[in-house]
């Protein structure tokens, strides 16, 4: 992996949790988990996350706290939002993750990308399906373009959706770093007169 900065997708963080805490998962993915551990160890300080991913993680924590049979015993009289907000802050502090914010400029680009996708896909149903699949991820995509950093993800559907768009051209390289088996997708898309360049690194558990 050539870049030294990475934009994290939520699923990577959850995967890291699984590798550390769940013995059965670790036993089935020993090589992969060791490589992921090494990736995090070597890249602490170079990891980034969008504010939306941060919120998404926080909502997942809320889901899990609600699903749990008992509340965390240090919740005390804090509000659930305040509590999970602190927990999320602890994540970004401990892993030294830099948060990048989504301003209207990013949102405007996302609108343009959506428009371009609309033009590229003629079938109405298909168009709807693609846009739903991309959802919030489209913001991550714009951030990778703006900041020239790759998104590191486990989400194959996202990559399949992006590469299936007719006006998108892409190149895929297989890479191995820190023992991780990865596929790097360099995707180009025309939006009006501008080209959107995005890089996604799909990590494989093999």
């Amino acid at each position: 992996m050539r870049n030294n900065k990475y934009l994290l997708d939520t699923n990577i963080i959850i995967d890291y949790y699984m590798c550390l805490n769940i013995s059965d998962y670790k036993e089935r993915h020993r090589n992969y988990c060791a490589a992921l551990g090494r990736f995090v160890m070597f890249n602490i300080g170079s990891l980034m996350m969008t504010d939306l991913t941060e919120r998404e993680f926080m909502l997942k924590l809320i889901d899990k706290i609600i699903e749990s049979p008992t509340p965390p015993n240090d919740l005390d009289n804090k509000s659930l939002v305040e509590y999970t907000n602190n927990l999320t802050k602890e994540l970004t502090d401990n892993l030294q993750i830099t948060i990048i914010n989504t301003y209207s400029e990013i949102l405007n680009k996302a609108y343009k990308l959506n428009l371009a996708i609309n033009q590229a896909i003629k079938d109405k149903e298909e168009r709807k399906k693609t846009r739903r699949k991309l959802g919030r991820d489209i913001i991550n995509i714009i951030h990778t373009h703006q900041n020239k950093i790759p998104l590191i993800t486990r989400d194959e559907t996202l990559i399949n959706t992006l590469t299936s768009i007719k006006t998108a051209s892409y190149r895929m390289d297989q890479e191995r770093a820190y023992g991780l088996q990865t596929e790097r997708y360099n995707i180009n898309m025309k939006i009006n007169n501008e080209t959107l360049e995005t890089t996604l690194i799909l990590i494989k558990t093999q």
Partner: protein, 238 residues
């Protein structure tokens, strides 16, 4: 990091745990550990690192020797190691250094007196390949629970380095195998309070104790999530 859920073990309990760890590892790594310990007592320069390299070549030979034994002999060595590792796991369990998932897991792979030979071998194999993971889990919990420093060495760093060494030793790719001796040497150097030399050894693998500290910072957070009852599953990955 503050302990949220459990009480800290008393100093006596900690030193008991400490002794058990040393004792059991002595059993696991039998001769090599003795040699390493002797070399480390004098270890503070480049020569000593070279000396350790020689010891690791020896250790490598020992491992090769074991690998070339008949399957029957190999199985009996594996069983002995599994039984020896049983002690350390029991102690990690008693001092709450394993999360409930790992506690249940080790319960399943512990060899019992009534086990059939084949069953015992299978358990021993699983235990052997997961021992590194078990120690990593304990290291992360030790940092989370705030039991880092014992005497003149740091328990969490030691457990993590040893865990990484054992984990890497049993992985498939050669690249990972290469890191194992560095982790192992650094683990013992940390155990003897020789952090600076540990750093020099790790530097040869492109690492430093700072990386180890970063690993612990990151993983102790996830130990905390588990401890407060957050349970992610594979479905959450989708």
């Amino acid at each position: 990091m503050k302990s949220l859920q459990t009480q800290k073990p008393t100093p006596t309990e900690i030193s008991e745990l400490d002794n058990k760890i040393r004792e059991t590892l002595n059993k696991i790594l039998v001769t090599s550990l003795d040699k390493i310990s002797t070399a480390l007592k004098e270890c503070n320069n480049e020569e000593c690192i070279e000396e350790l390299n020689i010891i690791f070549k020896d250790l490598d030979n020992d491992i090769n020797y074991i690998m070339n034994l008949s399957n029957e002999r190999k199985a009996s060595i594996l069983l002995d190691m599994a039984k020896a590792s049983g002690y350390i796991i029991q102690f990690l369990k008693n001092y709450d250094l394993l999360n409930t998932d790992y506690k249940t897991f080790v319960g399943k792979i512990m060899i019992k007196d009534g086990d059939e030979h084949q069953e015992a071998i299978e358990k021993a194999y699983r235990l052997f390949s997961m021992l590194g993971s078990i120690l990593i889990n304990a290291a992360c919990r030790a940092r989370y629970k705030g039991i880092s420093k014992i005497g003149n060495y740091e328990l969490d760093k030691y457990l993590l380095l040893l865990g990484l060494a054992l984990d890497n030793m049993t992985l498939e790719t050669e690249k990972q195998l290469e890191l194992s001796p560095y982790y192992l040497t650094a683990a013992f150097l940390v155990l003897y309070g020789k952090d600076q030399t540990a750093n020099e050894v790790l530097a040869k693998a492109g690492l430093s104790l700072k990386n180890i500290d970063n690993y612990l910072r990151a993983c102790s957070y996830f130990a905390k999530l588990y401890d407060i009852g957050i349970r992610f599953t594979e479905e959450d990955l989708e």
